[in-house]
Amino acid sequence: MVVAIGFEGSANKLGVGIIRDGEILANCRRTFITPPGEGFLPRETAEHHRQNIHEVLKEALDQSGLKPEELDVVCYTKGPGMGAPLSVCAIVARTCALLWNKPILGVNHCIGHIEMGRLITKANNPTVLYVSGGNTQIIAYSRRRYRIFGETIDIAVGNCLDRFARVLKLSNAPSPGYNIEQMAKSGKKYLHLPYCVKGMDVSFSGILSYMEDKIDDLLKDYTPEDLCYSLQETVFAMLVEITERAMAHCASDEVLIVGGVGCNERLQEMMGVMCEERGAKIFATDERFCIDNGVMIAYAGALAYASGTRMEFEDATITQRYRTDDVLVTWRND
């Protein structure tokens, strides 16, 4: 039995979670929200994390009812992500590990999402669509690695949505993507946008530039709701298409959607229709686990720890670039 605490702060979410043998004891989170029309920058985000991390940590410990000595391992996000916010969590994690005299373990953020999704949904060996503000990847497991079958060749889908929300000056609370989703629900008129699938890879930068360049003209014929609707329909169709392609390629009949964009209900609905048409099953989680959180880091760390992975204290660093397939999956034998 492994009791693990996880610190997550690779982007604008700060989370601390505690897990014992797949049972979630605490899942606490703060989000750094910027004014409409602005994105979050590394320095300010790190500042937000610094100001909040003690409170979140205390909240998590209180919620779990555990004392630090009852923990087995301290886990934190090693990467990928923004350097400054990552290092805030890493410093606190290292300090806790020394204070409490516990081993420390750095976790790959993407692996955290995948394993959390598998835990919550009980999906066995799914094709994973990982979609967030920084990542867009189609992943499948093979020979002890989560292999990337397809991904964006430029910006992430969440980044595309967030930046379009900025063009429309939508609020960043609770998240720009959520506001686009709500507006899209009342969109009626469909606008044809560039559609860019390359094999199992996708590209979103062209769609964004197109919208940015033409926004003034577009708003003469279309409402902002129509544009949100058309954008969602187009980018999600691309995602569902490459997921289906990867499923056909790997002969897989399960899909798991993880990452912040994964809690978009329209995306889940479209993926569901695709799955139904090919006799496959869809698995998705809600915002508690889709959006970055500390539990996923604790859980992925606990799995690795239980299967024997250890990290020297000197190696408890961070990295902005850390590919999903860099991690040797020691906890799976299939």
Binding site: S10, G134, F149, H192, Y195, D201, E233, V240, E241
Partner: protein
């Protein structure tokens, strides 16, 4: 048109049927409606891809890249009729077979396969054809002289046939060719992670064959390929 259509395979975006069309074994590729996407988008994409596929097949014929022959295009029913290779194996399955050690000299077979792939892709690019979806599932091997009993693929004279041109385009810019190579690299790495050198061999063959077209700037394409690769690998992934 054809009396009896038998479902042969269901891919990601099309159903494949086999039938007999004008006395020839025929593969019917029907791009069925995708209900998850907006009907206008679905219509658009499907028409576009049927057009791409038909055009590229014809262009390939002209430049000597082997593809199935095109028999008929039926926009109304979203179908393409083309030649069916009754004896064939996908490159993907072929590699898996080799790796299982079911045939003699696996290194030699992989070498010659890699060369074939590299040369064929180069030929496509020199003819300004961008495939758009280069994977080992979209390449077939067929015997040059088909005979009914053919258990062993490595022993005979085989040809590489390119299929699935739905995402193809006719374009002469190096960026698209770079992306094409990148897509192939990713497909090989993820699917055939037990053949770590395969793509390098393919790329060697691609880079080193004698160019038929003087104006083809191989350096530029390879540079673009490196650039696209860097974009994917070195991108910071936040969130």
């Amino acid at each position: 048109m054809c009396e009896e259509m038998k479902l042969f395979k269901q891919g990601a975006e099309a159903k494949l049927f086999v039938c007999n069309y004008l006395g020839k074994p025929t593969l019917v590729k029907e791009r069925f409606k995708k209900h998850y996407r907006h009907p206008a988008l679905d219509e658009n994409i499907t028409k576009e891809r049927i057009k791409n596929e038909a055009r590229s097949i014809v262009r390939c014929k002209a430049v000597g890249v082997k593809t199935p022959s095109l028999y008929l295009v039926d926009f109304e029913r979203r179908r393409i009729y083309m030649q069916h290779f009754e004896i064939s194996i996908t490159v993907k399955d072929f590699i898996i077979q080799i790796k299982k050690g079911e045939s003699g000299d696996s290194d030699a077979s992989l070498d010659s396969l890699a060369r074939k792939i590299g040369e064929t892709v180069r030929k496509l690019h020199e003819s300004n054809i961008i495939h758009g979806d280069l994977t080992s599932s979209n390449m077939l091997l067929v015997p040059k002289n088909p005979s009914p009993n053919d258990a062993n693929w490595t022993q005979q004279d085989i040809e590489l046939v390119m299929i699935d041109f739905g995402l193809s385009r006719s374009d002469s810019n190096a960026e698209d060719m770079g992306v094409d190579l990148y897509v192939l690299e990713r497909a090989i790495i993820s699917t055939h992670n037990d053949c770590p050198n395969l793509f390098t061999q393919v790329l060697d063959a691609y880079s080193n064959i004698k160019s038929k077209k003087k104006s083809f700037n191989i350096k530029e394409v390879l540079n673009k390929f490196e650039e696209v690769r860097a974009r994917g690998r070195k991108r910071t992934m936040v969130g």
